[in-house]
Amino acid sequence: MKPTEIVLSLLLAFGLVAAPLPSGGQQPPKVYRIGYLGASLPTPASSRETRNWKAFVEGLRERGYIEGQNFCIEQRYTEGKDERALPLTVELVNLKVDLIVAYGTAQVRAAKQVTSTIPIVMVGVIDPVRRGLVANLAHPGGNVTGLTATVGMEVLGKRLQLLKEAVPKVSRVAVLYYSGGESGGAASVMEEAARALDVTLQYYGVRDPEELDGAFAAITKARADALLVDPHPFIARQPGRIAALALQSRLAAVYPFREAVEAGGLMGYEASQPAIYRRLGFYVDKILNGANPGDLAVEQPTKFELIINLKTAKTLGLTIPEPLLIRADEVIQ
């Protein structure tokens, strides 16, 4: 046998072992078009919207979605006017987006009205079952799924309780709410809580930032001794202004947004937001990979945060009771 034959036989022996590797055909990735229907532009950098937006983008990146590479995003904002949600949704649908992420009840409802085929991922909605946006949480059906802002509506009463706990002498509580939206049974939950806590509620609706000064003047005039701010994207747009006005009016206030507390509000109670927005990526990914939105359960937040601004309490001359401070997740000194 010649040397070449020896080499050949060895090669043959190894060749049998080395199975041919499947060659993975590289296809250019499909570029998805995601529509985002929000309430406010994510500015400035410290705003709630910016934080949430960052968490949303981060959640997408965790799942391999890079803007400009495999998806592009079309953003539309109602900018404090719920009635604009409908035409903006139509714009998104005309852009042939693959799915719509909608923030806020009005936005989700508008999207659901406009399309029953494009998947809608909701976020920041309180009790979507009661508001008729999904059939139930485990199996939403239809084209809407996503994440809720709270667990049920009880938290509306819970805030009143926390306010009462912080300032036990409170008896007249002013409720600041967005009058251009739907109440969806919030009032009854709050009224029930008010009865249990023996306080009276006075309602002050606003639908335009111009009306805030008037509303606070009315609250002061009505001698309310505390303020309960109703969660709504419109309210969420101006936490600083409302907190400043409350402080100016020397009102102990409870907010549904931590940003208001950071800006000088007395206390806030809400579900931890970044976790929710990061989780949006899960829905976007599942749906873009073919999952039926109606088959994806709606998730509710698990972690709620109580945040108290002691500086404000001091300014208002209040002493926050110890049990409450124990329960507080964050205390601003």
């Binding site: 072992v17 949480l137 485990a138 199996h139 309780q161 709620f304």
Partner: protein
């Protein structure tokens, strides 16, 4: 002889099969057992992972239980809402999974309930004393309620614990099981594997994909879950540790489970089968590679061993083959000491015997070969293509010329028969001359263009179409006989005659071409001898001379000079030209035709001489120029007539001039003279000065008129010419010219009477007058000389000047000047009168013109 199968291959296959077979069997057995062991280990491992996962989830629940326990113990010792409240706040801070906690007093009535989401309730006193959570906790055990789903989505479980003592209350906590996800997702099962938890009904309560839990997914339908649920979960269960099953997505997984005892939950771990079994495959692949390498090595070793065994046999075979091929001196050297060596020795002695007998044979053959070679050399050397066949028609010899002709090498054709050697010639198998001389065959012989047979020899010509185009061949074949005279074969030589044939053909063609030219030429062409006979003439010549054919002409003409030439001297003249310069060009002569008619011919011919300059013949062309001659004569005649006419005209003109001049002189001149005389008379008698003055004036005018009349008379026809002769007229002319133009003109006369007719005198006078005018006008001469004299019965007049001269070739042919004669006219008219004019001139050297005219013996008429 090449063996059909090699010993090496046989041995190699046998050894390889033996060794490889053993290797293969041991390898496969090894593979099987290692697979089994590894798989068992894997399954055990999977089971252990499940156990580990179960214990971690158990730990999670225990932690919550402990936290509740601590708080309950603390509460049972003290009473009071504020304290309870604070404890609960702590509990909720410590255990994020507890959404709600309540405290029931010893009677089962709710004292406090605090919640993360809902309103805290104090002292509601709701009675829970009959509920299992109260009863079971009161019995001393921790109560773990069944899993329930809030809002049909979030899994919850109630945990209740009682404090120590009869009146101790019960703490009830609602635990959000979503938090187990944090535990479950931290359990790593390989890369893609994970753990999940189902409750006793098969509902999913924890899974890395939270959404599956929230969807309230039931896994009871999966066989592995069903199996696990039906089997009683006891510790140390000896059931199969892990199974291969399909998971919820239908993928093949390796799954194992473990129970969390107090809760009745099952923890499953699963891992994709491919991944789980990957550690199984790598040793298998390793073993496989080693096996193959082993096989390769064993095959190589087998081949090497077989070769070592077979090598001496192959050597023996190779040497034997070489002996068989004639290498008898080869010795087989095998020193194996066995039968093979004996065999080799036998071969060697056999080869020795063979070598001896072979040597004897070789000597005889050598002698024979030498004589054959000599013969072959001879044949080969022959310039003609030659081959030899035996009686059966097989080729015995084929020489080099034959090879060149046919392109067929000798070694390709030698020994071949069946007319194969005919193929290069005719493209088919057919007898050649050599065959025909052996075996006469009329049909084949008739195919040759020419055959000739003489005893044993046959000669023929033919065309071989297959030899590079049609080739003309000439062949000669002869029988070969042995010493007894018996026919043993035939030899044939072939010669290529194509070239000769072509040369002959070309020659014929060129002859024909020249003949055609001669036959059809328009000019006459001839060859003639010096003694006056034609060797050949062409038809054109014969026709020219009135003969019907060249043959007739050659036959009839025996003396060219007398029979053809009108003037036999012409023939003698042209013959002189043939001698020197050796040719005649355009020689014109008059011939007499056969019918007696005359023709003019132009002959261009030369003498043909051999190498020693001996005359062979004359040859050349001849042209009928009769028509041209006729035309020339006519032109001549016309010209004469013209000259005559011109002369007549001139004479007439001269006479007319003379008449006019005479009239002028005789009548007007005389009348004017009379007038002058009368006026002079009148002047002398004039009484007044005025009249005298007028008379003087008229007298002057009359003088002028008389002078004009004289001058006019002279110009028209100088009376002196007719009255006193040419010399006097010339004198008068020269005088007048000198007066008018101021150029010195010398007139000289060389004596002797020069009687001239009136016309000639007038012409001469006019000619001189014209010439002088020309000289004065154009020659810029300083000096002119006119001389007259006699020259052999003619008068000669020369006019010489020292002017600019001119080119003679132009002037004589040019028409004369305006209103004058012009040299040409003078010349023409002089010639008509039998005289001539000669011009000698060169540019820059002056001119001399000489006129000659015939004298007349009759004296010039006076009057």
């Amino acid at each position: 002889v090449k063996p059909r199968s090699h010993l090496v291959r046989k041995y190699a296959v046998f050894f390889a099969a033996l060794v490889s077979g053993a290797l293969l069997v041991s390898g496969l057995v090894d593979l099987y057992f290692s697979y089994r062991d590894n798989k068992a280990a894997l399954l055990r491992l999977q089971r252990e992972k499940a156990e580990g996962a179960a214990s971690r989830i158990d730990q999670f629940i225990r932690t919550i239980e402990d936290q509740i326990g601590w708080m309950t113990q603390a509460l049972s010792r003290r009473q009071g809402t504020s304290l309870e409240r604070r404890s609960f706040d702590y509990l909720l801070r410590q255990a994020p999974s507890i959404t709600e906690a309540s405290y029931l007093n010893g009677a089962g009535r709710e004292q406090i309930r605090i919640s993360r989401l809902g309103m805290d309730v104090l002292g509601s006193q709701v009675d829970y004393s009959t509920e299992p959570k109260f009863l079971e906790a009161k019995s001393g055990k921790t109560f773990f309620g069944p899993v329930y789903f809030r809002e049909e989505s979030e899994p919850y479980m109630t945990i209740a614990m009682s404090g120590k003592g009869q009146d101790a209350g019960v703490t009830v906590a609602e635990v959000n099981l979503k938090f187990i996800r944090d535990v479950v997702s931290q359990i790593k099962v390989g890369k893609a594997g994970y753990a999940y938890v189902v409750d006793s009904r098969g509902n999913l309560i924890a899974h890395p994909d939270m959404n599956l839990v929230l969807k309230k997914t039931s896994l009871a339908s999966l066989p592995q879950v069903r199996d696990a649920m039906t089997g009683s979960p006891k510790p140390g269960d000896a059931r199969d540790q892990a199974t291969i099953a399909r998971n919820l997505q239908g993928r093949q997984v390796l799954t194992a489970n473990a129970a969390i005892l107090p809760l009745g939950w099952l923890v499953f771990v699963e891992e994709p089968l491919a991944e789980a079994f990957a550690p199984l495959y790598s040793p298998m692949i390793r073993t496989g590679i080693l096996l193959l390498v082993g096989l390769g090595v064993s095959i190589m070793a087998s081949v090497l061993l077989a070769r070592k065994m077979v090598n001496p046999i192959q050597a023996l075979q190779a040497r034997a083959a070489r002996i068989g091929a004639g290498a008898l001196d080869e010795r087989i050297e095998i020193r194996t000491g066995d039968e093979l060596e004996a065999l080799a020795d036998q071969f060697n002695s056999m080869a020795g015997q063979l070598r001896d007998s072979y040597a004897a044979l070789e000597r005889k053959v050598e002698a024979l070969r030498n004589s054959e070679r000599r013969l072959a050399d001879i044949i080969n050397f022959l310039p003609d293509a030659t081959f030899v066949i035996d009686r059966e028609g097989r080729v015995l010899a084929w020489n080099q010329a034959m090879e060149e002709m046919t392109g067929l090498k000798a070694d390709e054709i030698l020994g071949k028969g069946n007319y194969e050697y005919a193929i290069p010639f005719y493209g088919e198998r057919r007898p050649l001359l050599a065959d025909l001389v052996l075996k006469p065959d009329q049909t084949h012989e008739s195919r040759y263009t020419f055959t000739a047979r003489h005893q044993d020899t046959l000669v023929a010509e033919s065309i071989a179409p297959s030899l590079r185009g049609a080739v003309h061949l000439w062949g000669k074949a002869r029988l070969l006989r042995d010493s007894e005279g018996a026919v043993v074969g035939a030899i044939e030589s072939i010669r290529d005659t194509t070239e000769r044939k072509q040369t002959e053909h070309a020659l014929r063609e060129s002859e024909q071409k020249y003949r055609n030219i001669i036959e059809h030429a328009v000019e006459g062409i001839f060859q003639a001898t010096a003694d006056g006979r034609y060797l050949s003439v062409n038809p054109a010549f014969a026709r020219m001379c009135g003969f019907s054919s060249p043959e007739e002409m050659i036959g009839e003409i025996t003396d060219i000079a007398r029979q053809l030439y009108v003037d036999p001297e012409d023939r003698a003249r042209i013959k002189r030209l043939y001698d020197d310069p050796g040719f005649a060009k355009g020689f014109e002569a008059q011939f007499r035709r056969k019918d007696g008619g005359l023709i003019w011919v132009s002959i261009t011919a030369r003498s043909v001489r051999d190498e020693s300059s001996a005359l062979l013949c004359y040859e050349g062309t001849i042209q009928d120029i009769t028509e041209r001659k006729k035309a020339e004569l006519e032109v001549q005649t016309h010209r004469e007539q013209l000259r005559l006419l011109a002369s007549e005209l001139s004479v007439t003109e001269e006479r007319e001039r003379r008449r006019l001049a005479t009239d002028l002189h005789d009548s007007i001149g005389q009348t004017l003279a009379m007038c002058k005389l009368k006026l002079d008379e009148l002047r002398s008698q004039a009484s007044s000065d005025v009249l005298a003055h007028d008379c003087d004036h008229i007298s002057t005018l009359l003088d002028r008129a008389i002078q004009g009349t004289r001058s006019l008379t002279f110009d028209l026809s100088p009376p002196v010419l007719y009255e006193l002769g040419l010399e006097a007229a010339l004198e008068s002319l020269v005088e007048r010219m000198q007066q008018v133009h101021g150029i010195p003109i010398k007139l000289s006369d060389h004596g002797g009477p020069k009687p001239l007719s009136e016309d000639t005198a007038a012409l001469c006078f006019r000619a001189v007058q014209e010439l002088l005018v020309n000289v004065v006008k154009h020659a810029h001469a300083r000096k002119i000389e006119v001389s007259t004299g006699r020259d052999r019965g003619r008068i000669r007049i020369t006019v010489t000047d020292d002017g600019i001269g001119f080119d003679t070739s132009e002037s004589t042919s040019r028409k004369g000047g305006k209103g004058g004669f012009g040299l040409f006219n003078i010349k023409e008219r002089l010639q008509h009168l039998g005289g001539s004019l000669k011009v000698d001139s060169k540019p820059g050297q002056g001119t001399r013109i000489t006129l000659l005219a015939p004298l007349q013996h009759r004296p010039i008429r006076k009057g």
